[in-house]
């Protein structure tokens, strides 16, 4: 009897600790995650909008866009072409197909629905350049071909979006990695020469190693987040808030006033 009572008591304590821990990490039911991204001409209004949202929301902050590199694009692109291939049509009605068959890459170019160019090679890069050469000759290279060449030749990282939020306490929710790397600007800019078969990078995503954060879990309200204070430079992109049901219409109206459109709203379970 005493053992059962002890067991029940232990179960109650465990239940209480679990519930308490959960309540610290989660908003109460009926709350909403609201994210408003500001257009380029309204970025200077973020602070003013945030001030207004804070009067209504349970919690609100500005956020910036950053990325977590989790893989390399060459591998992703090779797999995509191997499994699915490239099949695109340009505005001047030229269709390009690149696919892998029996261990070789085959390029097919159709003009007005008639096959007018074929090329087979062992090498993916050679296949992509052959398609690009044909595209240049016909006046338009499909963006997928150039993008694939960038991935194959320069092998930039595969990026996953994350929010940079100024918690200023070392918060990080995201994949567990040995050394956390964050990309602040994920843009790729290149010059290319089809004739010389060269891709010259002007800008590539550069990752910074972030050491002064602690991983608290996989996701924060479903999102990857990293403390903006732990990063060298983050541009403000919008407002993120946790809002109760009663205040939701007001918060939406405030944000619409500044951005001209509905914010993204998701109920928090």
């Amino acid at each position: 009897m005493r053992a059962i009572a002890l067991l029940v008591a232990v179960a109650f304590v465990a239940l209480f600790i679990t519930a308490y821990s959960y309540s610290l990490g989660q908003a109460k039911g009926g709350d909403y995650l609201v994210v408003a991204r500001f257009p380029p001409h309204a970025l200077d209004k973020i602070d003013k909008a945030l001030e207004e949202v804070r009067r209504e929301a349970k919690w609100a902050s500005w956020y910036g866009d950053v990325d977590i590199p989790l893989g390399q694009m060459r591998e992703v692109r090779e797999k995509l072409i191997e499994n699915h291939g490239i099949d695109v049509e340009t505005k001047n009605k030229v269709r390009y197909r690149i696919y892998k068959e029996a261990g070789k890459y085959r390029v097919e170019v159709y003009h007005n629905d008639r096959l007018n160019f074929t090329y087979t090679t062992d090498d993916l890069e050679d296949a992509l350049w052959a398609a690009a050469e044909k595209g240049e000759e016909l006046g338009e290279i499909p963006p997928e071909i150039i993008s694939s060449l960038i991935d194959y030749k320069l092998n930039p990282p595969l990026l996953y979006s994350a929010y940079a939020i100024p918690f200023c306490n070392g918060t990080y929710y995201g994949p567990g990695v040995d050394a956390l790397k964050i990309v602040i600007d994920g843009a790729v800019r290149v010059e290319y020469s089809v004739k010389n078969r060269t891709i010259t990078p002007i800008q590539l995503p550069k990752a910074v190693v972030v050491t002064n954060v602690t991983r608290l879990g996989e996701r924060w309200y479903g999102k990857y987040v990293v403390d903006a204070c732990a990063l060298p430079r983050v541009e403000k992109r919008g407002v993120i808030a946790i809002v109760g049901k009663g205040s939701l219409p007001n918060v939406i109206e405030i944000l619409k006033k500044y951005t001209g459109e509905e914010p993204y709203v998701r109920p928090i379970p």
Partner: protein
């Protein structure tokens, strides 16, 4: 007599928005939209994401918040190409400050390349901004 010339500059911002949608019918499938022009800023937002338990968008199922697709914006000109792409969830965006002096084409593409789910139906809102 000194002449005071006052030039009034009216700052006019023009934006164009299009929605593209369709079925990413298997991993590797993609949808692309492109058009002519040289905007200074482009942005694409994933506004709908429906997950399917079968290829070709058959058997819709609950879309988990962790579902992702690869969303990219790009601009290109003579021998020039710029892009920004990443795996995004529902409601998230990718944007790019375009070198308008070099770009003559721009657009967006969405690729089923971040998960091994059978298929997704997606809607992407794409906006380009011109001075």
């Amino acid at each position: 007599m000194a002449t005071l010339l006052i030039a009034a500059v009216v700052y006019a911002l023009i934006s164009n928005t299009v929605y593209i949608e369709g079925c990413l019918y298997m991993p590797g499938a993609y949808i692309r939209y492109s058009t002519s022009g040289a905007p200074f800023y482009i942005i694409a937002t994933l506004t709908d994401l429906i997950r399917y338990d079968d290829y070709y968008c058959r058997n819709p199922t609950y879309a988990f918040s962790y579902d992702q697709v690869y969303l990219e914006v790009f601009a290109s000109g003579a021998s020039y190409f710029e892009r920004y792409g990443r795996c995004v969830e529902l409601g998230e965006s990718v944007s790019l400050n375009v070198d308008a002096s070099r770009a003559s084409e721009h657009g967006t593409s969405v690729v089923h390349g971040c998960t091994s789910v059978k298929s997704y139906y997606v809607t992407v809102k794409y906006t380009s901004y011109y001075d």
